[in-house]
């Protein structure tokens, strides 16, 4: 579960001030002690941050009696890999179905948000039209109200569309993100105009310029938004809980929550299911961290 250093690329540019200050700093006893203390603090924090991940894995491969037992030990004597077979064949726990639901929903939601919000952001940033400003303000107003606060209103409209317990009920209402559109608009405002003008000279309309010039040159930004959206979608809980009421529509988060509160399955199965549910995200995290960090810096500050 520990993040391999090799896969982690430093996006945050190396501090330049370090170079400046280093010259002035002499190696003294005090500076060595300070440095040791710093690393000590970092290592203790790192252990605390990794501990919950370790506990998930440890409990996932234990028997129930080892999860909370007298003489509890951090490192169990024996790993029970057969828990995997038990989890995936347990008829009362349809974890594969809920994993598939989560995957379908997260992938479609990410693709849909990228398509709709990037095009809207581009139109608002670049196409001079009299409705552009009013629509932009109508978008900004929605930023003041977080979607979670309006889940009851949204549920009402979904129920009127008879979309409760459907994929589209979970996916579609979330696609029209004012915030993502806002981010895309800000990004496209800073996109070099000269590139687009070259495309226009070549006879491409707005549509052609967008798809053939702007999108191919904006890979990093699209990737950053995609990673953030995918993680948020995979981990979403309240909205899928409200719309996906039938067990066949549960996402993995809803399934885990139900098992947690109802305690209908074994502890080790529950922990193994949790471990399986975070595995895709840890992979995304390890391989796409560069984009994730960029996305966080991008979405966080402007929010």
């Amino acid at each position: 579960m520990s993040a391999p250093t090799s896969a982690v690329t430093a996006t945050v540019p190396r501090e330049q001030q370090g170079a400046v200050r280093r010259r002035r700093r002499r190696v003294t006893l005090g500076s060595v002690v300070a440095s040791v203390l710093r690393y000590l603090a970092l290592i203790i924090s790192a252990v605390l941050f990794l501990l919950p991940f370790y506990l998930i894995l440890r409990n996932a491969l234990s028997k129930d009696t080892d999860i909370t037992a007298p003489g509890w030990r951090l490192f169990p004597e024996q790993l029970h890999w057969e828990n995997f077979a038990e989890l995936f064949t347990d008829p009362s726990v349809n974890i594969l179905q809920s994993l598939a639901n989560s995957a379908i929903i997260a992938v479609l939601q990410t693709a849909g948000i990228l398509l709709i919000c990037s095009m809207a952001g581009y139109g608002l940033a670049r196409i001079p039209y009299r409705w552009a400003t009013p629509i932009f303000y109508a978008t900004l107003v929605t930023l003041m109200i977080p979607p979670a606060v309006t889940f009851i209103p949204s549920f009402i409209i979904v129920s009127q569309l008879r979309w409760v317990d459907t994929y589209q009920g979970i996916i579609v209402p979330v696609l029209f993100s004012g915030f993502t559109t806002f981010l895309f608009r800000q990004y496209f405002l800073n996109f070099p105009r000269s590139l687009e003008e070259a495309a226009r000279v070549d006879g491409l309309g707005y549509f052609g310029a967008f798809w053939r010039v702007v999108v191919p040159n904006s890979g990093a930004f699209f990737a950053a938004i995609a990673v953030i959206t995918f993680i948020a979608s995979w981990n979403a809980f309240l909205w899928p809980l409200i719309i996906g009421q039938d067990a066949s529509m549960w996402t993995v988060q809803v399934a885990l929550s139900t098992f947690l509160t109802a305690q209908t399955i074994n502890l080790h199965e529950l922990f193994l299911a949790a471990a399986v549910s975070i595995a895709p995200l840890v992979l995304v995290f390890v391989f796409l961290q560069r984009y994730l960090v960029q996305g966080v810096a991008e979405t966080g500050i402007k929010g």
Binding site: S45, T68, A120, G123, V149, I152, I156, Y206, V296, G300
Partner: protein, 314 residues
């Protein structure tokens, strides 16, 4: 949505050539092709629901979402009387009073610490950031069943027993201190790394010359540098982080729902509304509560905008 090559008169900014068939070139049709789907969605899934809710909030709406049985402001009056809804706002206030300053200080501290080391910095940054990949549901599961399991042999109780501390029931008791510890630490673990990244990005933007100038001006120790250079330079980041923390705390649902459920003692606004609307099917009070919450959060955002200037393109 789009009618290709229909908008010849509106094509005042039309691109040079209209070669090829069906190429969208008119400004009007191009605009609606790009922005139309978003606008339609925004109207159907944001504006219509909000308007519907405002109307419904003036109705008695038990087991129905059709307005009609008008009760005026009764739903609002019911909610704003001393009762579970006001209690939920108090719960949020207590929660925010813990989680906002703690996350702020700890994530800033970690960012400063990381910014001062060079060896293994990327590794530590990844480790602290890793919980961002974890969902509130999974984290609640670990906290509830493993770390803060109330039985004798949960991890926290095992560690405490080494120091001779008696068993603590954690979530199983309704007396205040212990369940707050569980609820606050789970969110701390999940979100510190996220805000640490924001602070790191802010720290990287501080010009090195400022530190040189400070050194020349006689700032000798780390505290003075932080007090007079680093912290003022992080002002924009700090304001953004505080607002985000507050708004996120306001929307707290997942960990409360999974850790303590529909408890009367720690039930933030969204959990209360969830049970009002989903379980009691009382959509009149549910929508009235949603309107109140939305208004409160708009006031906070606008006040922040007044003070710090939100929405200005940089």
């Amino acid at each position: 949505m789009s009618a290709p090559t229909l908008a010849a008169p509106a094509a005042d900014m039309a691109p040079p050539a209209q070669r090829g068939r069906g190429r969208i070139s008119g400004v009007t049709s191009a605009f609606w092709l790009f922005v139309g789907p978003f606008v339609v969605g925004l109207v159907i899934f944001v504006y219509v629901p909000i308007a519907w809710s405002v109307i419904l909030s003036f109705s008695r709406a038990q087991n129905t979402v059709t307005p009609g049985d008008w009760v005026g402001l009764q739903n609002y009056i019911d909610l704003l009387r001393p009762g579970p809804f006001l209690d939920s706002l108090i719960t949020f206030t207590i929660f925010a009073a813990f989680i906002v300053p703690l996350t702020f200080v700890l994530s800033l501290g970690l960012a400063l610490l990381l910014n001062q080391v060079r060896i293994m910095r990327a590794f530590f940054r990844s480790v602290y950031f890793l919980p961002t990949a974890c969902s509130y549901v999974v984290a609640s599961l670990v906290w509830k069943l493993s770390i803060f399991n109330g039985v004798r042999f949960g991890l926290a109780n095992t560690v405490l027993s080494w120091f001779g501390v008696d068993n603590i029931a954690w979530l199983a008791t309704t007396s205040p201190p212990w369940y707050w510890l569980v609820i606050v630490t789970v969110r701390l673990w999940l979100q510190i790394g996220f805000y640490m990244i924001l602070f790191l990005a802010g720290l990287q933007r501080i010009s090195p010359e400022l530190y040189e100038a400070a050194a020349v001006d006689g700032a000798r120790n780390a505290w003075q540098t932080f007090r007079y250079i680093t912290f003022p330079q992080l002002r924009a980041t700090s304001v953004a982080v505080l607002l985000l923390l507050l708004i996120n705390a306001y929307q707290a649902f997942d960990e409360f729902f999974n850790l303590v459920g529909n408890s009367s003692f720690a039930r933030p606004p969204l959990v209360y509304l969830y049970y009002t609307a989903q379980f009691n099917q009382d959509f009149g009070h549910g929508t009235a509560g949603a309107v109140i919450l939305a208004l409160l959060i708009m006031i906070v955002t606008l006040a922040q905008g007044r003070i710090f200037g939100f929405g200005r393109a940089e």
